[in-house]
Amino acid sequence: MFIAVLVGFTFFLTSVQSMIAIIDYGMGNLRSVQKGFEQVGHSATITSDPAVIAKAERVVLPGVGAFGDAMRELNDRGLVEPIKSFINRGKPFLGICLGLQLLFEVGHEDGHHTGLGVLAGEVRRFELPHDFKVPHMGWNQLMMRRPAPILAGLPDGVHMYFVHSYYVVPRDPDVIATETDYGGPFVSAIWRGNVFATQFHPEKSQADGLRILKNFAEHTA
C-alpha cells in the first residue's frame, strides 16, 4: 500500500515536472490546445520564449493560417533554431495542422517558402475533382499505417476533425503513421522517433482527440 502511494506520488511529480510548451507565434488560438491538455490532466505553458522552449520536456507547435506567414513569424521571433535543436535533442515534439506542414522543406502556399526542413518533402494544395470541396473540412477517418505511440488505444478508422487546403508529401514513406482518404489517400499523421505530427486537430476531435494529447503528454521514449 505504502509503495503504491509512493509510486503514485513519484508519477504525479514526474507529470508535473514534464513541462509542455505550446509555441505561440501569432498563428491562431492556442488556448484550445492548452485546455485540451488540462482536460487530460496535464498543464501546458503557452510561450514564445526560446529559453522556455529550451528547458521544456515536450513541445507542441500548433497553428492555422498560411505557410509563408508562419515561417516569417517563427523567424522574426527567433524560434526556428530553438525548435530544431529541441527536436535534435530527441525530446517529444508534436506538430498540429500547420505545425505538421512546417516540419517539411518546402511549402507551396502563395509561392515557394522554405520550411523547418526537419523532414524531407513538400506541402501541396489539394487538386481534386469538383465533388471534393476544398478546404477539406470536417470529420474524416485515420487509416493506421504504423503504430505511433500517440495513437495508442485508437481503432483503425477513427474519425478526427480536419480543416485544411494543403497536405504533406514526405519523401520518405517510412515517416507515415496514418493516411486519410479524400479523393485518394493523403498523409494525415507523421511519426519519426521523437517527432509526432497530425494534419487533423486533436484538440477539436472530442474524446478521441484528447486521447492523442494524453498519449503525447505521457509518452516516454
Binding site: G28, N29, S32, G36, P135, Y161, S205
Partner: protein, 256 residues
C-alpha cells in the same frame, strides 16, 4: 471517407440560448455552455452560435460565452451575428471561435471577407448567404437579403456565392428564407445550385423539421453539412437518431 456534418445552431440573446418562432416569441432554451456540452455528448460534429443581441453590452456577453464554450467543449464551432469589421472578427477568434460567419457586412464591405481570410485563413472565414425567391420583371430571382432578411440587395445567390469564394471565403452557410422556420425541409433547389457552383463546402440551413430533411439536404441539395436548430433544442429528435436515419439512407456520417 469524409463524413457529412450535422450542425446544431444556437441563437444566443444576452448570454442565453433562445429559439424564436418567427422571431417573436423567444423561448429560453438554456445556458449555451450546457447546451453545447449536451450536443457534444450526443455526437454533434460542429456547433454554430448566432449572436442575436443587438446591443454593445450584448457583444461582451457573447465574447464571454465563446470563451466559456471553448474551455468546455473540444469540438469546432463557428460564431456569427452582427460582425461588422476585422476587430469584431479578431475578438471572436481570440476568444476561441474556430470560424466566424459574416453576413450583412460581407455584402456591405466585401473586403472584410478577404481581410479575414488573409489574417485567419480561408478555413476560418465563413460567409452567410440568405436568399429569398422574388419575382422581378416576370422572372424568378434568388435575391440575397441582409439585416435578418429585411433588406434585399439585388445580388443573385449563385453569383454572390461564387464571388465570396473568389474573395477568400472557406465555407458558405446558406439559409433559404422561404424555407426557414417552416419545418417543411430545406430549399433543395437553391442549395443544389449554390453547392454545385462553388468548390468550397456549403452548409444547408433553414427549414429542417425532421431527420429526413437533413438527409435530403445532402443527397438532393448536394450540401456538405446540414444545420438545424429547433428540431434539436426541444428534444424532438436527438442528433444520434438523426444520424442513424441519414446513415440508413446512405449518407456517410460519424457515429459516436
Amino acid at each position: 471517407m469524409l463524413a457529412k456534418r450535422v450542425i446544431p445552431c444556437l441563437d444566443v440573446d444576452r448570454g442565453r440560448v433562445v429559439k424564436g418562432t418567427n422571431f417573436v416569441n423567444l423561448r429560453d432554451a438554456g445556458d449555451p455552455v450546457q447546451v453545447a456540452a449536451r450536443y457534444e455528448a450526443e455526437g454533434a460534429d460542429e456547433l454554430v452560435f448566432l449572436d442575436i443581441t443587438a446591443s454593445h453590452e450584448g457583444r461582451n456577453i457573447m465574447l464571454d460565452v465563446v470563451r466559456r464554450v471553448s474551455e468546455t467543449v473540444f469540438m469546432p464551432f463557428t460564431v456569427g451575428g452582427g460582425i461588422r469589421n476585422l476587430d469584431d472578427v479578431t475578438r471572436l477568434i481570440q476568444a476561441g471561435a474556430e470560424k466566424v460567419s459574416i453576413n450583412s457586412a460581407a455584402v456591405r464591405t466585401p473586403e472584410l471577407i478577404t481581410e479575414t481570410a488573409r489574417k485567419f485563413g480561408s478555413c476560418a472565414t465563413v460567409v452567410n448567404i440568405d436568399p429569398k425567391r422574388i419575382v422581378k420583371d416576370g422572372r424568378e430571382l434568388w435575391e440575397v437579403h441582409i439585416s435578418g432578411g429585411r433588406i434585399g440587395t439585388g445580388l443573385e445567390a449563385v453569383a454572390w456565392a461564387k464571388e465570396v469564394e473568389r474573395l477568400g471565403a472557406g465555407e458558405i452557410v446558406l439559409t433559404c428564407m422561404d424555407a426557414d422556420g417552416t419545418k417543411n425541409g430545406y430549399d433543395l433547389e437553391i442549395t443544389a445550385a449554390v453547392s454545385s457552383a462553388v468548390s468550397i463546402p456549403v452548409v444547408a440551413s433553414g427549414g429542417a423539421g425532421k431527420p429526413e430533411h437533413l438527409a435530403d439536404a445532402i443527397l438532393i441539395g448536394k450540401a456538405d453539412a446540414a444545420l438545424a436548430a429547433s428540431i434539436f433544442h426541444f428534444g424532438e429528435f436527438t442528433i444520434h437518431e438523426t444520424k442513424e436515419l441519414m446513415r440508413s439512407r446512405g449518407v456517410p456520417v460519424r457515429m459516436k
